[in-house]
Structure formats: C-alpha cells, structure tokens
C-alpha cells in the first residue's frame, strides 16, 4: 500500500518535469534525443533546445515523418523521446507508429500530452479519447498513463535503458499531487492507494483523484472502497486485479478515455477471464471531444467522483 499524499495539493506542471528530465537524461546519456512537431512551446522544451541544440529536433508540423525519423534514430542506437499532443502521436501518425516503430521492433518513448478532457479549449479536434486503444493494439507496446509528476519523472528515467515502444500519456499542466519523492514505481505494477472490502475502483491519470474523492463519499454511506492507481494500462497488473476481484466482488474502472480499448477494456479482459465479478465502467461513451473547462467536460462525460459513486451503488445493487 502506498503512503500517498492525502492532503489535496498540486503537482508541478508535467511539461516542466518533461523538459527538466530530458536535460538531466541528455547530460548523462549522449544517446538521448528529443523530437517535437512544432509544440515545443506547449511542452516547455525550449530550455532543452537551448542546452542541447543538436539533440532537440523540431521536425515542424510533420508527425508522420517524425515517427519515421525516430525509427531511423533508433536504428543508429539513439533513444528518441517523441512528443506531440496525444491525438497527433497516435491517430494522426498511427501507421508510422505501428509499422516504422512497432513492427520494425525499434526503440522509442512516445509522449502523448493533453490526455482526454485536459485538452480543454483545444476541443474535439485535439482531445484524445482513443489514444490508449490505438497504442494498446500495437504488439509488445508498453502503455502508461501518468497520475503525478513524481511518477512521470521517475518512470522516464527508469525506462530510459529499456528497449521497446513505450507510451506515456500525460496531462501537460498541473494535477493533484499524489506521491512522495521516495515512492517507487514499477512498470506493470498497480499501486494500492486505499484498501477496501466492498468495491475496488481501478483508475488512471486524473481519475485517480476522482476515485479517492468517491471513496470518501462512499465511506460516509458505509461502503468501503479500495482504490488502485493502475498507471500501467499494458501489461495490466493481473495479479493485483485478481486479488482485489476476489476480495471485493465489484470492480469499477475510471478513465479519462473512451471506455472502448483503454483501461476498462484491459481490466475487463483480465477479470472476465481469470475471476469474473460484477464490473462497471466510467469513461467516455460514444462521444467526440468538445471545447470546455476541465470541470465542465468531466460533468458532460460523467468523469466525476459522483459518477463513480453512482456506478458503485448500481454495481452493488
């Protein structure tokens, strides 16, 4: 169980963490190279370019080529960190991501920013609700959604020397601060934030905060909810899921993503095959994105703590 930060405070902006971590990694490892497609200002990597002009490559607005360039860089032994908005690194350049990197078995870190509703006023054209589904479908991909700045920094560093296709789904700006600096993160291992006996809420990204809030509401009504931060979507932590399916008999997933192909689907597949229990899924259902504040969009798409509470009660009927 994690000794997470219960007091509600904010993280550093994840984009700042990205830029600083890149500089740190580039200082220590000459193989690290970062690719952008004209969104350096959005992800705060201008400082990286100032420090390592030759290893921050701004490709311009050409995501398809950027994926191929990343593939070529990997062929020469470099470690490309590729960033754009989540929709552009997945939907926009999917065949390039799939074939030139995935099928060719090359090494790259893909950072998809503005996860789901965090794209706010960029609206429907820029709001990724299907990026996890797309990346999950690439064989051998490792797919993660960051729920905090400490997690992001540590996992960028921890996976640098691993080989393969890694997807980091992130919010660009602030989130709720969850983890102390000494928290350890292991790819493929969910983190139990709260134990419980009636229901398990499995969440990722901004929905971890909502799940913790839902737990408090449920507690007042005598329902004891476990909360798991399932930051690795693939490979999903089957051992932990089966343990909690046995323990709580209802599993509710919560994701800032389409309910098709993301966290809910991965959790369902595992539980359905290994220890079927009742399930409910919180996530975007048959909808495109739109402009709005994060709060408004969470209300529209039913991504709030109260929506999780409702799903839990329905599941426990």
């Amino acid at each position: 169980m994690s000794n997470y930060i219960k007091e509600v405070t904010k993280t550093k902006e994840l984009r700042k963490v990205y830029g600083n971590t890149l500089i740190d990694m580039m200082t220590k490892d000459e193989r690290v190279v970062a690719l952008e497609a004209d969104l350096m200002s959005a992800i705060a990597t201008k400082s990286v370019q100032d420090t390592f002009a030759d290893r921050l490559i701004n490709c311009g607005i050409q995501e398809a080529n950027m994926m191929g360039v990343a593939a070529g860089l990997s062929v020469t032994g470099m470690i490309p960190f590729v960033h754009s908005f989540g929709i552009f690194v997945t939907r926009r350049a999917y065949d390039q991501l799939f074939l030139s990197l995935g099928y060719a078995q090359l090494n790259a870190r893909i950072i998809g920013s503005d996860a789901g509703v965090s794209a706010t006023h960029n609206g429907g054209t820029h709001m990724p609700f299907e990026d996890l589904a797309l990346v999950n479908a690439i064989p051998n991909s490792i797919v993660m959604e960051m729920s905090d700045d400490t997690m992001f920094e540590q996992l960028l560093k921890k996976t640098k020397d691993e080989y393969g296709l890694y997807y980091f789904r992130i919010v660009r700006k602030e989130m709720r601060k969850l983890y102390h600096e000494d928290q350890t993160f292991e790819v493929g291992k969910g983190i139990v934030l709260e134990d419980g006996s009636d229901v398990t809420i499995v969440a990722s990204g901004i929905m971890v905060d909502e799940a913790l809030k839902a737990r408090e509401i449920l507690a007042k009504e005598g329902i004891d909810a476990a909360v798991i931060d399932m930051f690795t979507i693939k490979p999903i932590d089957e051992t932990l899921l089966v343990e909690y399916a046995k323990k709580t008999k209802l599993v509710v997933t919560a994701e800032n993503h389409n309910v098709i192909g993301g966290l809910g689907t991965m959790v369902s597949q595992c539980i359905g095959e290994q220890h079927p229990v009742k399930m409910r899924h919180i996530g975007v259902k048959e909808s495109f994105g739109q402009v709005g504040t994060k709060e408004y969009l969470q209300e529209v798409y039913k991504l709030r703590a109260v929506d999780i509470v409702e799903a839990v009660k329905d599941g426990l009927k």
């Binding site: 398809a64 360039v69 070529g72 990997s74 470099m78 078995q105």
Partner: protein
C-alpha cells in the same frame, strides 16, 4: 567481378527466386537491379559477415516490395546462402514480400507501407550526423511512391538538416500498380520538384552501371545538401515481353510466362558462365 556481371547475376537470381515462388513483385524488382549492383559491388561499405557492423553504410529500400531483388543481391554478397532465396514468401519465411529488418540479414529498415522508408532514412542520416559518424545512407524510393505526402515531409527534413550523408535514388520507371504514374496521379516534373526542395538533383540512365557509379560518387562529394538521383528505368527491365506491361507490378506467372522466364534464366546463366 565488374558491375555489369554482378547485375546479370542479381537479375538471374531474382528471376529464379520469383519463378520458384510462382508470383511476386517482378516489375519493380527488375528496374533497380543495376542500382543494387553498383551500390553493393562498388559503393557501400558493408560486411556481409557482420550485417550489424556499426561502421556500415545503410540502405533503406523504401519501395519495400522490391525485396526480392535486394534479397538476391544480399545472398550473392554472402549475407545468407543462395539456397535461402527459394524460401521467398514460404510460410514462416525470413524473406517476406516486403523488406523486414528483423528477419533478413542485411536489411537495415523494415518497409512496405509506402512513403515511410524515406523518413527512416533521413532519421538514420540525422542520427549519424549527431554522433559525428561518417557512414553514408542510401534510400530507394519508387516514382509511384512519391504519391505519398510523407515523402515530402522527409525531403523538407533532409534539406533543413543538410543531410549530405544521404543519397536518395528515385526508381522512375513511370508505372505504378494501377498504370502509368502520369495517369494515376501525375507527380509532375520530378527534377524541378526536388530542386525546389534544395536537393542536389540529377537524372541519369538507371540501367547503366558506369553512369550510376559516377553519379553516386558525385552525389556523395556534394557537401552541405542532400542529393537525389532520378533513375530513368524500365519496369520489368531485362524481360523484353514484360517490360512496361502495365500489369507487371505483381505477376502470377502463367505457363507461357514460365517458359519465357526459363528462356531468360538460360540466357543469363549462359552470360554468367562466360
């Protein structure tokens, strides 16, 4: 062995390979035979016994469907036994229709979805530059492939980054799967187009080994900008009856075709034994 002789060997082995499989991408394989011969016999620094040698020159066959010609070249160079060419497109083969770096020794990049290989080639060239290495990178694209918008993204990138360690060859055989490139999707004046992207550009006879060699050396000596060599080629080159057939992109060989292939194989075998 001179380049002309090596071309004859590549053409022979490619034909035998395709005839054995009974179908395949013959047109676009035949049109790059002379280029492959010059590159592998006379230009590229490669070690067939150590295909992943970090000092090697790289080749990206962006028109990945011409794999059979490249496989024959690599086998003749000693990357793997000639006998393996008979496994082209067998179930579980290491010689699939489209080039695959994880299956075939000597293949530097997995290609097949057109337009993607050129991006990988510019990425390799950029990676080598960042690391201060002097390996060279060669890419082969088809004229039909230049329908793909991604190619132009890669050209912009190569030009912006002054990738003079890259030479792009365009196999301008003037045909694509459904017919003449001019009719299917006219890509206009290639020479002007590449010049406008600030590429050192030249157009040559793509079936003349001496000219290919001289032009490639010229291109490699050009500093500060990437180079493109447009090869005037004939799709299906070497098999008179197949040359410029609009249906020669991918053929399933009829009995008549097979007799024809037998004739050319015998001719080439005779040539190679001289």
């Amino acid at each position: 062995m001179n380049n002309k002789q090596f071309s004859a060997q590549i053409r022979l082995e490619t034909l035998k390979e395709l005839q054995h499989r009974t179908f395949g991408h013959i047109g676009g394989s035949m049109s790059i035979v002379e280029l492959l011969s010059v590159l592998y016999n006379d230009i590229m620094h490669v070690d067939p016994k150590n295909p992943n040698d970090i000092a090697r020159d790289y080749l990206v066959l962006s028109k990945g469907h011409a794999g059979p010609a490249l496989y024959a070249t690599l086998a003749l160079k000693g990357y793997f036994p000639l006998e393996m060419l008979k496994t082209l497109n067998d179930n579980g083969t290491n010689l699939p229709s489209h080039a695959d770096k994880n299956k075939t020794p000597g293949i530097d990049m997995t290609t097949g979805s057109l337009g993607q290989g050129l991006s990988a080639a510019v990425g390799i060239a950029k990676g080598l530059k960042i690391q201060g290495k002097d390996n060279r990178v060669f890419a082969i694209v088809g004229d039909g492939e230049l329908n793909e918008g991604q190619c132009y993204e890669a050209l912009i990138f190569a030009s912006k980054h002054h990738l003079d360690n890259l030479v792009v060859f365009v196999d301008d055989n003037k045909l694509q799967l459904d017919g003449p490139t001019k009719e299917v999707s006219d890509i206009g004046n290639l020479d002007d187009r590449f010049r406008s992207f600030a590429f050192d550009t030249r157009r040559i006879d793509g079936h003349n080994e001496e000219i290919i060699k001289a032009s490639t050396i010229d291109a490699l000596n050009k500093k500060g900008m990437p180079s493109i060599i447009i090869l005037d080629t004939i799709k299906g080159k070497g098999i008179k009856e197949f040359e410029n057939l609009t249906e020669n992109h991918h053929m399933r060989f009829s009995e008549d075709d097979n007799q024809l292939l037998d004739k050319y194989i015998a001719l080439l075998e005779g040539e190679n034994n001289e």
